[in-house]
């Protein structure tokens, strides 16, 4: 690309807001998945929606691929730069534009940090429900792109259930409004298509979020078990009992060890598995449910049960859980965080299969998961300095994903496909499905500029590379033209 082209962009942005020097670009080379690295052409730091639109239009005009990112906490490489492409850093678009306590709606810019929405809503007794573990860091824009989940999505659903509308600049430079302030919409669910599209369909400029009243009371129980299976069946028992907790989380002994070292959460160190169950709602309701829950937990043969007596104790229990991924950095120089889903009833089976795989590959696997949703997060520990360990780890990760699909689940619960799992997409979707997805994407982004190279397998469709033309194509029934 010629120098003049980049200069044209630098004229669109005030001085100092287009980074091109090596030292300024280097820290943008990875997100939270450092196994992937790429050096961008430049990093643009717009401060207004207008500047974002101008930047995207410049990309469209010159066919420069781009990735928009916030805090870069993606665990699937979703916010990894594109080699030679532009990074649009949205962190400075961090204003809460409107907070209407009566309508329980907030309109925010994409760079607003998840937790900051709840902080701003707190004086009105409201909060923003989706709570990914990265919530003190990750931005709403990124949460939207990846339809982020979190511990409390068991009761409240994912990000998509809490987004009412978005103003978006499409990769062509066109600006559109998706959804609205109303909970019900007519016509195609364009917003639904956009949420979770991993940045492949443009950049959100303004996002309308639903706020919920803060639960009056929480009841947080920490139950320790001498086996992972017992904790797993406890989850099934809680669900069978008719209770719908806000969250149900399990951590195994490795994860407990790491979290305890990081934040001294007070977890029992000898436990093989910990189950966190949180009830929330109106006081009377929670009190009645708590009695019910304690009977279930007792029947599940937990050998130790702790109940948070106050907000500080509750916060401590959650701090350990939410720090668990990063804390595993204390146990191993490298690890892969996996994110697969299995039907809740197959949790026990999935865990024992993972244990067998771990033994077979000779790599430790720590388990932290949203048990209520059947969303597993196996953390595969490896040492990148040992030749072959990374490859073995990746292979093991692949086996786990295939296992999830075989059990009737999914290759991702909330981290997205990004870079990391694009080659496993064909394990879950037929070639024709992937082609359809690609066509939908191309109808919005004909040149595949927005987050190019992510989600879809290979540079070209991997299925095409690997298996050649689809049988229907060979017969001339369908065509890619």
């Amino acid at each position: 690309m010629s120098k003049e082209v980049l200069q044209e962009l630098s004229k669109l942005l005030p001085a100092g807001r287009l980074l091109t020097a090596a030292a300024a670009l280097s820290p943008y080379q990875s997100d939270a998945l450092t196994a992937f690295k790429a050096k961008p052409l430049a990093v643009a730091l717009p401060e207004s929606a207008g500047e974002v639109i101008e930047t995207v239009r410049w990309c469209a005009k010159h066919q420069i691929p781009f990735v928009a990112r916030g805090s870069g906490t993606s665990l699937s490489g979703g916010s990894l730069p594109i080699d030679g492409g532009l990074v649009i850093g949205l962190n400075r678009l961090n204003r809460i534009l409107k907070l209407d306590p009566k309508e329980r709606v907030a309109v925010v810019e994409p760079g607003v940090v998840n937790l900051d929405v709840s902080k701003a809503a707190a004086p009105f007794g409201l909060y923003y429900a989706p709570d990914p573990s990265s919530q003190p860091v990750s931005t709403i824009g990124g949460n939207l792109a990846f339809n982020s989940g979190g511990a409390h999505c068991l009761k409240y659903g994912m990000t998509s259930n809490h987004v009412l509308g978005a103003k978006v600049v499409l990769p062509t430079g066109e600006v559109v409004e998706l959804g609205g302030e109303s909970l019900e919409n007519t016509g195609p669910d364009w917003l639904g298509l956009f949420v979770g599209s991993e940045g492949l369909m443009g950049v959100a400029l303004e996002i309308k979020l639903r706020l919920l009243p803060k639960p009056e009371k929480y009841h947080t129980v920490l139950a320790a078990y001498d086996s992972l299976e017992k904790a797993g069946s406890a989850v099934a028992m809680v669900v069978a009992s008719g209770l719908l907790p806000g969250a149900m989380e399990i951590m195994d002994s490795l994860a407990i060890e790491a979290a305890e070292a990081a934040v001294q959460a007070g977890y029992p160190q000898d436990a093989k598995a910990l189950l966190i169950v949180e009830l929330e709602g109106e006081t009377l309701e929670v009190e009645a449910e708590a009695r019910h829950l304690s009977e279930v937990i007792e029947a599940s043969r937990a050998y130790k049960v702790q109940i948070a007596r106050n907000e500080a104790e509750r916060a401590k229990i959650w701090k350990g859980r939410k720090a668990a991924f990063s804390a595993v950095g204390r146990l191993s120089p490298d690890y892969i965080v996996q994110d697969g889903v299995v039907p809740r009833s197959k949790l026990g089976q999935a865990l024992s299969e993972i244990e067998k795989l771990s033994l077979r590959y000779g790599l430790r696997v720590a388990n932290v998961f949203h048990a209520g949703d059947g969303n597993l997060h196996p953390l595969i520990l490896y040492d990148g300095r040992v030749p072959g360990e990374l490859e073995r780890g990746e292979e093991l990760a692949g086996e786990i994903l295939k296992l999830c699909v075989a059990l009737g689940g999914s290759i991702t619960g909330e981290h997205g496909v990004g870079m990391e799992k694009k080659r496993y997409l064909p394990a879950m979707f037929a070639e024709a499905d992937i082609e359809l997805m690609r066509k939908i994407r191309q109808s919005v982004d004909p040149h595949e500029l927005s987050n190019r190279g992510k989600m879809f397998p290979g540079g070209e469709a991997e299925a095409l590379v690997r298996q050649g033309l689809h049988p229907l194509e060979k017969r001339g029934v369908i065509s890619r033209e």
């Binding site: 980074l19 020097a21 090596a22 030292a23 300024a24 280097s26 820290p27 943008y28 080379q29 990875s30 997100d31 939270a32 450092t34 730091l45 805090s71 870069g72 906490t73 850093g89 962190n91 400075r92 961090n94 760079g111 940090v113 990265s134 003190p136 860091v137 990750s138 070292a261 990081a262 934040v263 720090a323 668990a324 991924f325 990063s326 804390a327 595993v328 950095g329 204390r330 120089p333 490298d334 690890y335 990148g384 300095r385």
Partner: protein
Amino acid sequence: MQHKIPVEKLGPQGETMARAVEQCVHCGFCLPACPTYQVLQEEMDSPRGRIFLMKEVLEGSLKPVDAEPYLDRCLGCLGCVSACPSGVAYGELISSYRMHQEATRRRSPLEKAFRFGIQETLPYPARFRAAALFGSLAKPLGSLLPKKLSAPLELLPSALPAARPLPELYPAEGSRRARVALLAGCAQQVLRPEINWATLRVLAKNGVEVVIPKSQGCCGALSMHTGERARALAFARKNLEAFPSDIDAIITNAAGCGSGIHEYLLLFKGEADFDKAAGFAKQSKDVSVFLSELGLLAPKALHSPVQVAYHDACHLAHAQGVRSEPRSILSSIPGLDLVEISEGDLCCGSAGSYNLEQPEIANTLGRRKAANIVASGARLVATGNIGCITQIEAALKKQSPEFRVLHTLEVLDLAYREILG
């Protein structure tokens, strides 16, 4: 994180630096804890971004001079260390890195002169006093001077308190419960001599005899944090000689000095007298910790209630993990209502000599801290570090001049003397 740092070529601190890089998983939990990231919102000015930069310089793929602007902007507040779930020893990394790079770093004559000026005055109370006196007189000229020179003037009080030399021994009141030695600190002897006197009175009242070694000097923290390793070692060694051994603890009452001494373990790595330095570090304690362990004599109830906001000095909270002790000292005063400051983990912008070298970011942080302090509702703020006191006073003067900024021990001393409220 994987790296190709040639550990063996980097001297005794090489292993420390490599280990920190290895432990970073780039998760981003440090971002909200980092003051420069909060102000600038750029990856290069975040802890994990700086780790990338240091890694690449050490690996040889990035020129040190290119990384300098971002690494120089790090306050060394260690807020990221408290926030890091994977236990990255960022403080040890950046201190080692700065010491490693300074030897070969090229600086402009003006920069050299400015740094030389700081290194040759701040650690020496007599010289600093003379300079500060001159500065106080020059304050009205501040607006005529370039920013680099006017920034230090803004931090100075309009009149310096009178110098009050400390005795060599301050006896315990009543029966002796302990014998300690006090590190008097450099800047605070000039800017706020009252802190040491309050400390002596409080310790004496609690039955503690205090030795104040005459030949003591700067702890070396200022030199170490700006990469001047040889100078830091010389300062530290002087103190290893100056302090007696027949004591129960070495007391620090400036957070910066306390954390500096605890860093002797890093500074002396590979030195012949490492054990001696490590012993010294082990013996030193912040005065609030020492008093809490000893058991505090209960102050009398205040005549009228006083609201006090406690400001966590980074070098107490993040560097030494001291958070609860100063709070429990203040709460032990009947009638004192202790309030928290929001964004309490965020640095006030003082950070050693940072507010002299990076005045713009320091001022932004100072204003933010002052606004949070004012919002706490209190009209008195207590903290455990002279740097914070100077910075916060200067920032509050513009927003809320009636505010009092005191050292935690000054508050306790006033309570004992029944003149707090």
